[in-house]
């Protein structure tokens, strides 16, 4: 085993860590009611696949809608707004949907609707980004050549984008698979998913072994689906091109419809919240502290993500390692949280370190699938050239990989930071008290203060977005520095 292999093994162990801890403490237990398990499995599986599939379709059209917008600031604003439903506490999203879809069909269909609503924006932002970086001049070429849209999509778009689409699809799939509140509220009788079962085993029956076993099965399923992933190689466009041809007004309209349904319901809460601003005055010290808590958690998570993404680059290329990253999926959120609760102290600075680590553990492989892998692969030939020129691993990393990947890495780090700033589920497990504004939002919700919670959640979102922009900006500054 050489140094690089040891490094890879270390990364893999890091990602597997929650499982190792859980298995060490609890062992598997198979004391399950199989009909119930089968029922939960079927529900999880069907709702996740359908949700991811439709979120992809909606997101795709909305991505094309983005291409209609020429003004950069407007596009940026819409992209940010499109992320909103994915970010806010479930309650606000649910209320918006229930207002919009009436009567609401509960069951698998209901879950799918909610998930579409939550994820379409994220999918659209990711896809628009990837279409721009991947297809580049081909879109113009196709336009000039006068080939039909159908031909373009079947012959150019899907073959080239297959892998990116799959990455985003798997990302959404995993999120839907482990979704907890949505199936319970919107799923009617089909609301029992594996994630719910895991929670039930853990909380009510105190049967951790069964919970760990279920989570393991959940991971195996996603692993199997991921293995079906197609291996492709990407190219990154190196010039600005026009995506006019691809744009879709209908997509833009769809975005506006979905967003306005959402914003209308949510805005009402914000207005009510403003009427009770005096409440926040009483909380100013706590708010102040938790504002920094949010920033600190976001920054740490982003930085850690940034570093780990480059660790992954350093450990390339190795088929098994790649396959592992592509297919692995961390155990359920609650279980990962508890695994970290059990090891080491939970006082003082520890929650501040543990929470970002857990968030990174839960999101790293998703980020890898989503676009990191293809970005790395796009540099394949340059890496090879560097090798032929006799460059050391370090020189290739420093001069070829790092400068060209900073942009993408900081985008992904920004996403992780955005997520971290809105997290309360993991923080609630690992922290002894409210550390961040998101946790506070949740606390307000559990004490009748729904309008205050909506206004605070919007503030959290703004903080999250500024963290996201911070990472993108820092990435640009860094890459400009490097290219001087």
């Amino acid at each position: 085993m050489n140094a690089l292999d040891r490094f890879r093994a270390f990364l893999v162990l890091f990602l597997l860590f929650p499982f190792l801890v859980l298995i060490f403490y609890f062992r598997f237990s198979f004391d399950l009611s199989w009909p119930e398990f089968w029922w939960a499995f079927k529900n999880s599986f069907s709702q996740a696949i359908l949700s991811a599939f439709f979120a992809m379709i909606f997101g795709f059209f909305v991505a094309l809608g983005f291409f209609c917008i020429k003004k950069k600031w407007l596009r940026a604003t819409l992209e940010i707004l499109a992320l909103l439903p994915n970010f806010l506490p479930t309650l606000f999203t649910l209320v918006a949907i229930f207002n919009f879809v009436d009567p609401f069909p509960s069951g698998t269909f209901g879950i799918v609707i909610v998930h579409i609503f939550i994820y379409f924006g994220l999918v659209a932002v990711l896809l628009a980004n990837q279409i721009e970086s991947r297809l580049g001049g081909l879109v113009e070429q196709a336009w000039v050549d006068g080939i039909s849209r159908f031909q373009f999509y079947t012959k150019v778009f899907f073959p080239l984008m297959k892998k990116d689409l799959l990455g985003v699809f798997l990302f959404v799939l995993v999120m839907c698979f482990s979704s907890f509140s949505v199936p319970l509220v919107a799923g009617g009788g089909r609301g029992t998913t594996l994630e719910v079962l895991i929670y039930e085993k853990m909380r009510l029956s105190t049967d951790w072994g069964a919970a760990v076993f279920l989570s393991f099965i959940q991971t195996l399923i996603v692993f199997a689906i991921s293995l079906l992933a197609y291996r492709g190689r990407g190219q990154i466009a190196d010039r600005a091109v026009s995506f006019q041809w691809l744009r879709s007004r209908a997509g833009l309209l769809l975005l506006i419809c979905l967003l306005s349904a959402f914003v209308l319901g949510y805005a009402q809460g914000i207005v009510d919240g403003f009427l009770q601003m005096s409440f926040f005055y009483e909380l100013r010290f706590a708010l102040f502290k938790q504002f920094f808590g949010t920033i600190a958690l976001g920054l740490l998570t982003g930085l850690l993500t940034f570093v780990l993404l480059f660790c992954v680059v350093w450990a390339q290329p190795e088929a098994w390692f790649q396959n592992f990253l592509r297919s692995y999926f961390a155990p359920s959120t609650a279980l990962t949280g508890f695994a970290f609760l059990m090891i080491g102290p939970n006082e003082g600075v520890w929650p501040w370190l543990k929470i970002p680590i857990v968030i990174v553990l839960l999101s790293l492989t998703s980020l890898f699938r989503m676009s990191w892998e293809s970005s790395i692969q796009a540099l394949h030939s340059q890496r090879m050239m560097g090798q032929v020129l006799g460059a050391s691993r370090w020189q290739i990393f420093r001069q070829i990989e790092f400068p060209q990947l900073i942009g993408r890495a900081s985008f992904l780090a920004g996403l992780a930071a955005l997520w971290a700033s809105g997290d309360f589920a993991i923080s609630r497990i690992l922290a002894h008290k409210d550390l961040s504004l998101a946790m506070m939002t949740e606390t307000l919700l559990s004490s009748y203060r729904i309008s205050q919670a909506s206004i605070l959640s919007f503030f959290v979102f703004l903080v999250g977005v500024s963290l996201f922009l911070f990472f993108i900006g820092a990435g640009r500054v860094l890459s400009r520095k490097l290219s001087l």
């Binding site: 190196d238 030939s381 340059q382 560097g386 032929v388 020129l389 020189q395 290219s483």
Partner: protein
């Protein structure tokens, strides 16, 4: 004379079988043949990018096949040139110099000299991604040569240029090779390349070398 032995390679129905092949250790050897016949595969095998377990390549008494890709110390120009798009022309060349730990003195001297001979001065500080085909070509050539390679390998290196530029590039190549006294292996299917440059021509046909 450098000697390639046992170059055997199979991939699906495609097959290469070259028991022995002599490459000049001075001047330019051309490997020619129709497209798709496997020239580029041979090129990649020699560089070490494709596996070929029984290959032996004796050069100055050393078996290059046993060395790793960087250890082989070959100067390589791919058909796609593979300049690093985010670096300037100068940074591209410097990258290779640093990689092979070329002394600063030599690097400065050579760069100055070649950029004059090859008229590269005006675009040395431009990003490689924005250079024209002919400019890229010259940068790739200098990048390959800066580190005093054992041998220069070029794969269809002129194919993307127009006739006039091609002529210029051939001249540039000749000058460089003569000054540096480095042998070269050129892969091409262009008759004019062969006429202008070849000291020896090997033709690849149905997976075998037919020498001329």
């Amino acid at each position: 004379m450098s000697l390639v032995e046992n170059l055997v390679y199979e991939y699906e129905s495609f097959k290469l079988e070259i028991p022995i092949w002599k490459i000049l250790d001075q001047g330019i050897t051309v490997l020619s043949g129709d497209s798709g016949v496997g020239k580029t595969t041979i090129f990649r095998i020699l560089i070490g990018l494709e596996k070929c377990s029984r290959l032996k390549w004796t050069f100055d008494g050393i078996d290059l096949a046993k060395l790793s890709v960087p250890e082989k110390k070959l100067g390589v120009v791919f058909q796609s040139l593979e300049l690093f798009p985010h670096m300037t022309a100068r940074q591209n060349i410097l990258f290779a110099a640093e990689a092979r730990k070329v002394s600063e003195e030599r690097y400065e001297k050579k760069l100055k000299h070649w950029s004059e001979t090859l008229q590269m001065k005006k675009f040395l500080d431009q990003k490689a991604g924005t250079l024209s085909g002919g400019e890229k070509q010259r940068v790739a050539l200098v990048r390959a040569m800066i580190s005093e390679p054992r041998m220069l390998l070029l794969d269809e290196a002129f194919s993307s240029l127009d006739e006039k530029l091609r002529q210029e590039s051939r001249e540039a190549l000749k000058v460089l090779l003569k000054e540096e006294k480095i042998p070269a292996l050129l892969i091409t299917h262009d008759r004019q390349d062969i006429e202008a440059l070849a000291d020896k021509v090997s033709v690849l046909k149905e997976g075998r070398i037919v020498e001329e």
